[in-house]
Symmetry: C2
Subunit: 404 residues, 2 copies
Amino acid sequence: MKAAETPTVPGFRASGIHCGIKAGEKAGEPDLALLVSDEPATVAGVFTLSTVVGAPVELSRARAQRGRARAVVVNSGVANVAMGERGRRNAVRMGDLVARAVGCPEEEVLVASTGVIGEPLPMGAIGRGVRAAAEVLDPGGLGRAAEAIRTTDTFAKLAQRRVRIGGRTVTVAGIAKGSGMIEPDMATMLAFVLTDAQASAPYLRGVLRRVADDTFNRVSVDGETSTSDSVLLLANGVSGAPGLKRAQGPDAERFEAAVHDVAESLAMDLARDGEGATKLVKVVVVGASSPSQARAAARRIANSLLVKTAIFGADPNWGRILQTVGAGRIRLDLEHTRIGLCGVTVFRAGASAGPAARRRAAARLADSAEVEIVMDLAVGVHRARVWTCDLSTEYVRINAEYTT
Amino acid sequence: MKAAETPTVPGFRASGIHCGIKAGEKAGEPDLALLVSDEPATVAGVFTLSTVVGAPVELSRARAQRGRARAVVVNSGVANVAMGERGRRNAVRMGDLVARAVGCPEEEVLVASTGVIGEPLPMGAIGRGVRAAAEVLDPGGLGRAAEAIRTTDTFAKLAQRRVRIGGRTVTVAGIAKGSGMIEPDMATMLAFVLTDAQASAPYLRGVLRRVADDTFNRVSVDGETSTSDSVLLLANGVSGAPGLKRAQGPDAERFEAAVHDVAESLAMDLARDGEGATKLVKVVVVGASSPSQARAAARRIANSLLVKTAIFGADPNWGRILQTVGAGRIRLDLEHTRIGLCGVTVFRAGASAGPAARRRAAARLADSAEVEIVMDLAVGVHRARVWTCDLSTEYVRINAEYTT
């Protein structure tokens, strides 16, 4: 969702301001976002599985586990990672500043940071920033918050859906930042989804786990997980809709579908905005012998430098797709394997579908901003899909010239 | 070994000629190599673990298992992969042509092909080529064979060692071709190591398995295994040195060390000659909690686009190294983890070693054609090393512009 209606969620206010964390060529850009619920909200979180995690992740993971939150504070520019005891102290202080500014218990503030690794948070700037951000909190501020969490994202990412639950309108809206394709020292995916639904924390956790697994975890930014990846889902109940406690039933299904749609829209924007990317690529693997084989095959294709550079060059190179799947030791029946590019079958019956199909696929690849790769392994019924982007010379330039 | 003495192994003759398989801008370049032992040799092979393998691999794997070989024929230009029944027939015919030309049983001919996937071998050209290659077989022909197996390799790869076994001089020599960095449709690593040692086939298998695991399997060309990767070791006994049957003992150790040295030299050349590469990178991980954790950490570092682009840009970016190892869920003790670049410690005690160390490392990175990355995970005693190369804009250009 670019340049569309700015999302608002009843009972939530947000802001995004510049407080002086970002330096260099990004100096002056927004770098601190605040999300506040007027009522205590239930919360669920999913976090990076990296063995190297930032102090903000440690803190927010523990607090999200308690299930209750009033505010989320996010800074961009400095990730507060690999800073030892000082990092942990600063993450706690950042939360305390917010608790004081908005008047809530400290444990109900969640914290996220994204930016360079190995540098200290400028606590003076953050103190001033939190006070300034609290003063301009606004129901329409989600767009500015989305701006403030950007690092090298080329556009702010927002999404919104509305559903009817028990006769009431419930809003689900989210913001996210990507990691370029996979990004320098700032490789972090952050997403915050807000809703005025009423939902128990255990229920919310289940929803977020299922949704994240099918959306954010399917954006392949090349297998790099950052030290700071965090996704939070807050529900404040302000809609007055009946409370959601279990995954079964039409209300719960509608709600989960809305959260899924918002997350999926944000996830696709993350792939679309990959560093140097010129095309959004959707990889669909079907006919796999197990769900994990399907996922592994889709990820291999999505992460293959050769496939990504071929897409950049509009080359319908099925040999590279076949090869990377084979190299992943994925089970397939070569004589019945099928590979389609932008709807054109280019490989079937153990061989090329011929030069005419190749030319047709090449033409569609050249013309499409969104490319679909479909591969049928022909050994089972399991499927998986992953979004990624192509790999351009621009990507290498960005990442080779980036210096801290 | 470039531009040094051309290796010769007593009792082996070799040749490399052009027979018309390579087309386009490579037309006219050598594309068929023949290696022949005057006496029946014992043989061991290791092959790609891909689930998509070429017909030559299927054939040679079965024949190597029998333990006896007289000849190896290799063509470049067409890989004979994904060609179904026709591919299998052509691989067998290629072997038969050699058996007839050199006068040996068909089962004692091994076959390898490297080049584009999905195209038929031009059997007429190969027939003429085999006869022509057999006519010019020469004890000094190994250099020409090394030329003929190249695809996008920028130089031919040869290595040689001599050792004394039981009072006799034993020669071990090998040739190899790389896969660029990881290569288009021609991503194949082939290596052929010849020796005049006398060795039983089971012993030779053990030597090759151990050596390949420590050399060829440690070249990380980004995790892509090709459909055609093959390494063969042939021993013809012509030296008259006492026969080797078991791995223990000083003779066996000296022999295995010589094979290891030859394989290591070839493997390093493969990494050095990565597509678009400007630097050879050696990654050493120590202090891991298990051998598999050590290998996984080294491979993550070697395969990380961010690390590879940083090396290309001479940026001593320890954050990227830390992040990719964390993302691989590798166990480490962050407070005791150490990262060194070109001999300069840039990260220790959970934090940056400071700007002076960073500047020193940056200067060394800029000046070195060979870069060493050392990471101590500080949780155990296990270690691993992997060779790779940096990732340049040239790599993307080559692979995006490559069309079949």
